[in-house]
């Protein structure tokens, strides 16, 4: 009887290990996934701005041309430890100059580096996984045109058990979602949905997280504690935000709220990025925000 119980436990343990192995295994696409796609660096620049790459990967307080020097180093304290943005400039040693387009696809959409290790979701690959492969390929072409910076990337300062990168495979299994969060939007909000959910990663700050850092998609854009300090990132669903579409577009373009307050903190950086997009796309973004399900506090 005892022998049988031990045997059952052993088998269950092996199944568990096998499941862990399979679930946490980094998945990578091979180059044939993007065969035939022609990079468009002009579209790549749009993606770069809408996704806000410079806001994290340029130096702290960078302005003007320095926003295109993506040497990294900016610190992002969190409850799991401090993340440092890596160098993603075209430098072949310290940056990503040696990455192929499929390497960028795997980093942005699967959260896996070229060496096959999991990347931390401080890189919002949960959003970028919703990008088209065409856009990633175009972004790759645009990034290659930017100045090389020879600053070495800082190692991530994350505490145990989050320091075990293999476990991130489990995180992805639980939380990485490739479909749009809001499935039904009017056609005129589709561009806006793509900007909000795939590129600008609004949900990363405006949606609350569970204890493991997964987004509570049932409360999409319903507001959340500030990830980097005091206060609350606001609820921007129709349950709270009553601005008109025109108000929203004015805000995206100028940073002015209807009360003539101005965007602050990281949202000021978001506005710097959004304000470079065509007005028609910002109108669609406003339409998207008006069509997401209302979250009431």
């Amino acid at each position: 009887m005892l022998r049988r119980a031990i045997l059952v436990l052993l088998v269950l343990g092996l199944i568990g290990l096998a499941a862990f192995w399979v679930i946490t295994r980094p998945t990578q696409l091979t180059p044939d996934a993007i065969a035939g796609l022609t990079p468009d660096p002009v579209r790549g620049e749009y993606v770069f701005r809408a996704a806000g790459c410079a806001s994290c990967h340029a130096a702290k307080d960078a302005t003007g041309a320095d926003l295109l020097k993506l040497g990294g180093g900016k610190a992002f304290p969190s409850e799991f430890g401090t993340f440092y943005a890596p160098n993603i400039s075209p430098d072949p040693v310290h940056g990503i100059g040696n990455w192929t387009a499929i390497d960028l696809v795997n980093a942005l959409q699967n959260g896996v580096g070229p060496d096959g290790t999991h990347l931390y979701p401080a890189l919002p690959y949960g959003a970028y996984a919703k990008m088209t492969l065409q856009d990633v390929v175009s972004l790759r072409a645009y990034l290659a045109t930017l100045p090389a910076v020879d600053t070495p990337s800082k190692p991530q300062d994350v505490s145990f058990p989050f320091s075990i990168r293999r476990a991130l495979g489990g995180w992805k299994f639980l939380f990485l979602q490739r479909d749009f969060v809001i499935q039904d939007v009017p056609p005129e909000a589709e561009t806006g949905r793509y900007i909000a959910e795939a590129l600008a990663h609004c949900g990363e700050c405006h949606t609350a997280r569970n204890a493991l850092g997964g987004l509570k998609t049932g409360q999409w854009l319903g507001g959340a504690p500030n990830p980097t300090g005091k206060g609350t990132i606001p609820n921007i669903t129709p349950g709270k935000l009553d601005w008109s579409e025109a108000d929203l577009v004015t805000f995206f373009q100028s940073g002015f709220t209807p009360e003539f307050d101005t965007a602050g903190g990281t949202m000021a950086e978001v506005v710097e990025n959004l304000s470079t997009l065509p007005e028609a796309d910002l109108v669609s973004l406003a339409r998207y925000l008006k069509s997401v399900p209302a979250v009431t506090d």
Binding site: N226, K230, G231, T232, F260, A263, G264, G265, A268, E269
Partner: protein, 146 residues
């Protein structure tokens, strides 16, 4: 009567500077200062955004008010022990030179606005942008979310 609130706030700041005690906390003072500036920005912004017709006299008056508020002594509203991140960030105290530079940039932008606000709408628009940018530059670095 439009002057009343501005004058009150200017007087309040003056009183604090003079060492008088008032019931208002630094947080309340900051909030009142910002709202007062927002009111003038709203008058100007409505014209800039085409929501109200351009009115040279009203634009001039609002710019003058705004300039007075922007160039008042803000320091009494930002004592180090009041910078708790709700919403003024403690980084203000450790970067006082930069904070002052941003404050002075706003003052310079509003002074430039006063000079042209009454000229025409294009001149107002051109000078309004830098004012908004000055507000945003400081909020970006030193204001925490609500």
């Amino acid at each position: 009567m439009r002057l009343t609130k501005t004058t009150m706030i200017a007087a309040m700041i003056g009183a604090i500077t003079a060492g008088a005690t008032l019931a208002e906390t630094p947080h309340e003072m900051r909030s009142a200062m910002m709202k007062a500036q927002g009111k003038q920005l709203g008058i100007l912004g409505a014209m800039v955004q085409g929501k109200a017709p351009y009115d040279a006299a009203a634009a001039s008056a609002a710019a003058t008010e705004l300039d007075k508020l922007a160039n008042a002594d803000w320091m009494p509203a930002f004592p180090a022990d009041s910078l708790d991140g709700k919403r003024a960030m403690p980084e203000i105290a450790s970067n006082m030179d930069d904070f002052m530079a941003k404050y002075e940039a706003l003052g310079a932008a509003t002074t430039a606005l006063v000079a042209v606000a009454g000229t025409d709408l294009d001149a107002l628009k051109a000078a309004f942008g830098p004012v908004g940018a000055a507000c945003g530059a400081c909020h970006k670095s030193y204001r925490a979310p609500e």
